[in-house]
């Protein structure tokens, strides 16, 4: 835990220092644009992560526990959204669907595309976790005459959630990096804002230093949060210390 924490603090400090230096120099001319981009990146990330987690759990649990038609639907969803490139999915949502009368704002298209694409990957993580809960847990639940619903919600899923944390936090970090593609649907995120500002002002080093630090901070934040959640949920698996 110590190294990510130090790296996190270091990165935040560096980011703020960078902002400070920029504010006191002529660089402040491009800062507002970068900040607006950062806000878009964070917005897309937060909303997509919510959809990603929801999709991962719904589709993963459907694949593990569903009746045959439910399992197949979930499997088809996973195959479609995993087998296609995110960029192409974004184009579909933003440019192709309007041809069928489905028009959505760029933010919605971005969040749907990213959330569903990563949700399909996450579904496999969730399914794997659910299936890795030992068979004896199911058998004990049956012997205690629990319904399948109670067995799922009270015994299997709580144990599976802990197992999903490392996999899902890795995917979350990948998701944040993938938000750089949203300029394809006309959103100006921090990456696109950097490119624009660089073309205007030619302050390549400063601009991209700020950009890279933003991504790094977000990733550290997830890594840190994931580690904390994992520790928190697996306390009971450690022998009692006192």
């Amino acid at each position: 835990m110590a190294i990510p924490r130090i790296a996190f603090i270091f990165a935040i400090t560096a980011f703020l220092a960078g902002l400070g230096v920029a504010t006191f120099s002529e660089l402040r001319i491009f800062l507002p644009a970068l900040l607006r981009g950062a806000v878009v990146t964070v917005q897309v990330s937060v909303l997509s992560i919510a959809l990603f987690l929801l999709t991962a759990f719904v589709a993963g649990i459907a694949r593990a526990f569903g009746t045959a038609p439910v399992r197949w639907s979930a499997a088809i969803f996973v195959e479609v959204f995993r087998g296609t490139s995110l960029l192409v999915i974004l184009f579909w949502f933003f440019f192709v669907l309007p041809e069928f009368g489905v028009v959505m704002p760029p933010m919605v298209a971005a969040v749907l595309g990213i959330g569903l694409n990563f949700g399909a990957y996450g579904a496999e993580v969730v399914r794997g976790a659910v299936q890795s809960v030992p068979r004896g847990q199911t058998e004990a639940s049956i012997a205690l005459n629990m319904t399948q619903f109670k067995r799922m919600t009270r015994i299997i899923i709580p144990q599976a959630v802990v197992i999903t944390i490392p996999g899902l936090s890795n995917l979350t970090i990948e998701l944040i990096k993938a938000t750089a593609l949203v300029s394809a649907v006309t959103l100006t995120d921090i990456t696109f804002a950097s490119v624009q500002q660089n073309q205007l002002h030619y302050r390549t080093l400063e601009i991209f230093a700020i950009t890279v630090l933003l991504y790094y901070c977000l990733a550290q934040f997830i890594r840190f949060g994931g580690g904390w959640l994992e520790d928190h949920f697996s306390r009971h698996l450690k022998p009692r210390s006192a």
Binding site: Q137, A140, A143, L144, P158, Q159, V162, H236, L237, K238
Partner: protein
């Protein structure tokens, strides 16, 4: 003649072409303590697992208190049982596993009250009262807030027994309850089972390799071989004067090993 507590009528259990139980006729009377012995792979565990409905059977009928378990009556005909029917009958049966199978994310007490609350719909305070009595009975009242990972094997198995009892079963199934334990912990678990056997409150079906214990607590011992019950009788008779050749071989092997 009164109905036996448990009755197997020509039960067939097969994994693909492998017949693990073949035309098994078998019964256990109310409050009877029956031990199943036999070589590895003879189908002992399978008898308990099919009765607990952990495995479907491919033929025959299992009865509890005269009511079919895997089937049900509909218009005077036996038809495959509905989930609700199975749940109603299964409520009378509890099982203790070789590998405990406690819920690792719950404390000892939470393990015990989980099913009474969420399966039987018992009030939480009542479930806690009853489960604390049971934990005290198995000598673990002070471990109520410990997680399974914080308990020894013997303690985990005693929690598992308390958890099964919390559902107020009439029938208790034990599948080699001490096989996964370090030798010094076997005694504490056997003494709990002995008390349950002697109380007369439960009909008990036990699979064990502890021949001395089987002889002590059983009303009847059944010897299984190759998916069939080849000999059964009072423990003194079965251990003292075995008739079947395979049983003689089996006994000389296990008694030698002790």
């Amino acid at each position: 003649m009164s109905e036996p507590k448990i009755r197997f009528d020509k039960v067939l259990k097969a994994y693909g072409p492998l017949k693990v139980l073949e035309d098994l006729d078998f019964h256990v009377d109310a409050s009877e303590v029956v031990t199943i012995i036999g070589p590895s792979g003879s189908g002992k565990t399978t008898v308990l697992r099919v009765l607990m409905t952990l495995e479907p059977i491919q033929g025959g009928v299992m009865y509890v208190d005269g009511e079919p378990l895997n089937m049900m009556m509909s218009d005077g005909q036996l038809v495959p049982a509905s989930k609700a029917h199975v749940r109603r009958i299964r409520d009378k049966i509890g099982m203790v596993f070789q590998s405990f199978n406690l819920f690792p994310h719950m404390t000892a007490l939470e393990n015990c009250i989980e099913a009474p609350i969420h399966s039987k719909g018992m009030a939480k305070s009542k479930a806690i009262d009853e489960s604390m009595d049971l934990l005290a009975m198995v000598g673990l009242a002070d471990k109520r807030d410990h997680y399974p990972s914080q308990l020894s094997g013997g303690q985990q198995q005693r929690v598992a027994i308390a958890r099964a009892l919390a559902m107020r079963p009439e029938i208790l199934l034990f599948d080699e309850p001490t096989s996964a334990l370090d030798p010094e912990m076997v005694g504490e678990v056997l003494s709990v089972i002995r008390r349950l056997a002697e109380s007369g409150d439960y009909t008990i079906l036990l699979v064990t390799h502890q021949m001395g214990f089987a002889r002590d607590v059983s009303d009847r011992v059944c010897f299984f071989d190759g998916g069939r019950m080849v000999e059964q009788g009072k423990p003194e008779a079965l251990f003292g004067h075995p008739r079947n050749e395979r049983l003689k071989q089996f006994l000389s092997k296990v008694l030698e090993a002790v």
